[in-house]
Amino acid sequence: MSTQTVAIVSHRFGYGFYRQAWWNWLIGSAFFFGEIGAGFFLVSQLTGNFTGMVLGYLIVMVGKNTAHLKFLGRPMRFWRAALRPDRSWIARGIWATGLFGVSGLALLLKNSGQISLSDSTLALANTVASLSALFIMFYDGFVMNFSHAVPFWHSSLLPVLCLTYAALGGTTLTITLRELQGVHDAYGVVLLRTEFVLLVLNLLLLLIYVKRMSSSQVAAARETVRLLVKGPYAKVFIGLVILVGLVATLLLSLAQNQIQQNWLAVVIATCELTGDYAFLMVLLKSGLFSPQTAPAYARG
């Protein structure tokens, strides 16, 4: 069965690929805020930037959680989503976000001098905050890749891609914040090099992902690649995700290495975040379910 002969149908009585319409921009926004917020917090924590930690914490706890609650059909029952961490990545994510909320708040209060913590408690809070932030950076990749029903998402590369995007977003935001704060220390060079490596890595991973899916045995995955590369999402995917989000960001960050300008740092962050958000949105929008088919029916 060739993908050219099967259309994308708009209703469930028709035969063809079915669009994934369950998870919309609110879920995309929640994933985006979770990834960049946790990345921002973690990188700021590692480089000792208190303001970055506060901003990262707020992006996760306000941005991500608000988007999730707004999306839920029954938001007042959200706590029930934590009941099955043994089998659901969503439940694990809720636990990680909860742990991040408590340990992150403890760290922020300690750093602002509002509370005092013993050395062992501080070490525990640091460890839990770091690990939970790391988990928030990639768990949405597992939430999506758990679905066999949307073949384009069902790849072990997706959580890796989410992690590298989150690390990239966190690094870029930390660099921008430091530029705006006028902080120039030994971390500056390390962060710029890390950003460069992550940009190249993201670009490679994204190309490998699309290449692998283009030769997938499942027609729905190949059809999604067609939508991304030649179809209606090509402008967003190639234009925003690849050219603006990765290529332009890479070139501008090379220029930033030379001229170190505040405004350029803001432009780089804007480009990177635009690409990151566009990536998550296009990933959700281009997801397709396979046609309901079996040997006799597919024979045509």
């Binding site: 035969y15 934590a82 009941l83 066999h148 079996a294 040997p295």
Partner: protein
């Protein structure tokens, strides 16, 4: 304990959608929600063209992905294999819908239960039936569990004018279902999804 399942004989199906209507009437689902539906497709090239019909409903999979994706445990499987949703536990995250390769999950969006099929508000029938749904939660085919529990067959089965649907115990040794599955060319939808569906199809 029986393991309930269904066999659908495509040789008999005429694509009349009586199952769709019977299900709609039995379960009183809101507009746009169809637990049972018939996918139709034109195949062949002129002049040898025909229309084929594929009646679909929840497969009540033995290894149901919707059950594994549900973070609250609202989706559960009864001992007889029927996969159900507990409305009171569902948070409407739609993870089950994203994980079901058969698109047999339905979201009762806000406002759906205030709008009937006609423009004149809810009919008395809709008022009664819609009371069984909760906005902001997922719903799905239950194999008409409320009927099965009283020894009756699902609405789509008793309504089918060509008796294309056969409902019963998949584990019954030499029962009608096992015999048909064994002796006719049977298959399940999307076997590559490895969900072990309990709805089997017999070839045209």
């Amino acid at each position: 304990m029986a393991r309930l399942g269904m066999v659908i004989d495509l040789k008999r199906c005429v694509g009349c959608n009586a199952c769709t209507i019977a299900c709609k009437q039995e379960n009183g689902t809101p507009a746009g929600v169809h637990f049972a539906r018939v996918i139709n497709r034109e195949v062949g090239t002129y002049p040898n063209v025909k229309r084929t019909f594929l009646p679909v409903l929840c497969n009540h999979c033995d290894d149901a992905p919707c059950l594994k994706a549900c973070p609250t445990g609202a989706t559960f499987q009864r001992p007889d294999g029927i996969v159900m949703v507990d409305d009171d536990s569902c948070i409407g995250c739609r993870a089950c819908a994203v994980s079901c390769p058969y698109l047999n999950r339905h979201f009762i969006d806000h406002g759906m239960l205030q709008k009937g099929l006609s423009d004149d508000g809810l009919t008395p029938f809709e008022q009664v039936k819609f009371a069984g749904f909760q906005e902001g939660t997922m719903t799905k085919c239950t194999f008409c569990a409320h009927r099965v529990d009283h020894g009756l067959q699902p609405a789509c089965v008793i309504t089918c004018p060509t008796e294309a649907r056969i409902f019963g115990d998949l584990d019954e040794e030499n029962g009608i279902l096992q015999t048909l599955i064994r002796e006719r060319n049977s298959w399940t939808l999307l076997p590559e999804a490895k969900t072990k569906p309990c709805v089997y199809y017999l070839d045209e």
